[in-house]
């Protein structure tokens, strides 16, 4: 788990650095584009679900984007 801790620490440090150094000094009134549905990471929920289900039943790798969702006998 030491690798896990290192990675979590790296993520926190990088994100903290980016927000402190003003890498993202984007103001609320400048977020019109970012608020558009195609700029979010969620996407079309049913499409994403079908696609992940198909890939996880044909390939060995799975996961990465979230937790939860039921397993099945197809893999």
């Amino acid at each position: 788990m030491s690798f896990t801790l290192t990675l979590v620490r790296t993520i926190v440090v990088v994100a903290g650095y980016m927000s402190l150094t003003g890498c993202a000094n984007v103001k609320p009134w400048e977020k019109g584009t970012l608020a558009r549905p195609e700029m979010t990471f969620e996407g079309d929920a049913l499409d994403v679900r079908f696609t992940e289900h198909v890939y996880s039943s044909k390939e060995a790798a799975s996961g990465g984007a979230g937790v939860g969702g039921g397993g099945c006998g197809c893999n």
């Binding site: 994100a15 079908f50 044909k58 039921g70």
Partner: protein
């Protein structure tokens, strides 16, 4: 919001049909009292066709009907959210129950959002030929950060860890004895960029996966969302995938290609499942959506998938396996309230 989607999936090897899936699905999402949202999904999967008993040999007829329900409740806070979810999936020979919790918290300027998720699933496996009653338990933990980079760029980095114990073998395959433990880790990086001059948006993502069965996999995907006049949107996409073989995968014996490969006498772990071999895969797809009115959205998506042993980026694929292809078709309609 109510969304209906219909999936039609068909795969094949060397032009010969294997598994077909017809899956209607419905999702309902509703805000409650301003700070809550509830969401539910129901999917009915009818799976039929033939599946190889080992490698890509001895196609054996199968048919199953899976019913899956997911429910989730989200509470929104000024700078974050908390989601609790439950899922249940049932087939004649497989039941899976899952619980999950996910939280997000943003910095004051909302340019950085941290997320943490924990999920667990309990599965019961009872193959149709009887005599086997097995269990599998998987726990997933995920941490990540989403960062606004510019007015047109947003990126996400997730790290996931999964710990699984129990029955991982495929009860319908010959010579399939897998370890009773499987832990995997994933790193996922995603980046969305908006192009002012086309009004289009690109989605790029990379995932690295590695597990305790010695499988390592890279997934790179990209799509581009182009809005057009009259409510049309075109989204072409491409995906590249490669994996190494599980350390206990037994390749096709070139001397006896249509027979199972015999494990060595003292081997306790072995599998001749194509999905545990080394291979590479490519998907190309196109989604077309049409906003009919502010309340109604129609979409269709078509994808083609090819999996080949000699497309593995690292490690050696198994040249004795037949080439595998699949195509999916999705049709969806959404009503917003």
């Amino acid at each position: 919001m109510i969304s209906l989607k219909y999936l039609d999936y068909q795969d094949s090897q060397s032009g010969q049909d294997r598994i077909g899936v017809h899956a209607p699905s419905i999702m309902v999402m509703a805000p409650v009292a301003g700070v809550w949202s509830v969401s539910g999904t129901f999917t009915s999967d009818v799976v039929s066709g033939a599946s190889p008993a080992f490698h890509t040999e001895q196609l054996t007829k199968m048919k199953d009907h899976r019913k899956a329900v997911d429910l989730s409740v989200t509470r929104y806070f000024p700078r974050g959210s908390l989601t609790l979810g439950a899922s249940h999936s049932q087939e004649s020979d497989y039941i899976s129950r899952g619980l999950s919790a996910q939280g997000t918290i943003s910095t004051e300027d909302k340019n950085t959002t941290f997320n943490l998720g924990v999920g667990t699933s309990d599965d019961t496996i009872t193959p149709s030929y009887g005599g086997v009653h097995e269990k599998k338990n998987v726990t997933d933990v995920m941490v990540g950060v989403t960062q606004v980079l510019t007015k047109q760029d947003i990126a996400q980095l997730n790290y996931g860890f999964s710990h699984g114990r129990g029955y991982f073998s495929d009860p319908y395959k010959l010579a399939d004895e897998r370890p009773r433990e499987r832990n995997h880790r994933t790193i996922l990086a995603r980046w969305n960029h908006h192009f002012a001059f086309t009004d289009g948006t690109s989605h790029l993502s990379y995932r690295y996966y590695w597990d305790t069965w010695d499988i390592r996999a890279h997934t790179i995907s990209g799509e581009y969302v182009q809005p057009l006049p009259y409510g049309w949107t075109l989204t072409p996409g491409v995906r590249f995938y490669t994996q190494t073989a599980a350390r206990f995968y037994l390749p096709v014996d070139p001397a006896n290609p249509s027979w199972p490969t015999f494990p060595s006498v003292n081997a306790t772990e072995f599998s001749e499942d194509q999905r545990l071999s080394a291979f590479g895969a490519v998907t190309v797809g196109l989604k077309v959506a049409k906003q009919l009115s502010p309340d109604w959205l129609l979409d269709v998506k078509f994808e083609k998938y090819k999996q080949r042993s000699d497309w593995a980026w690292s490690g050696t694929g198994d040249p004795g396996l037949a080439p595998f292809d699949a195509r999916t078709f999705q049709f969806g309609i959404t009503r917003y309230f």
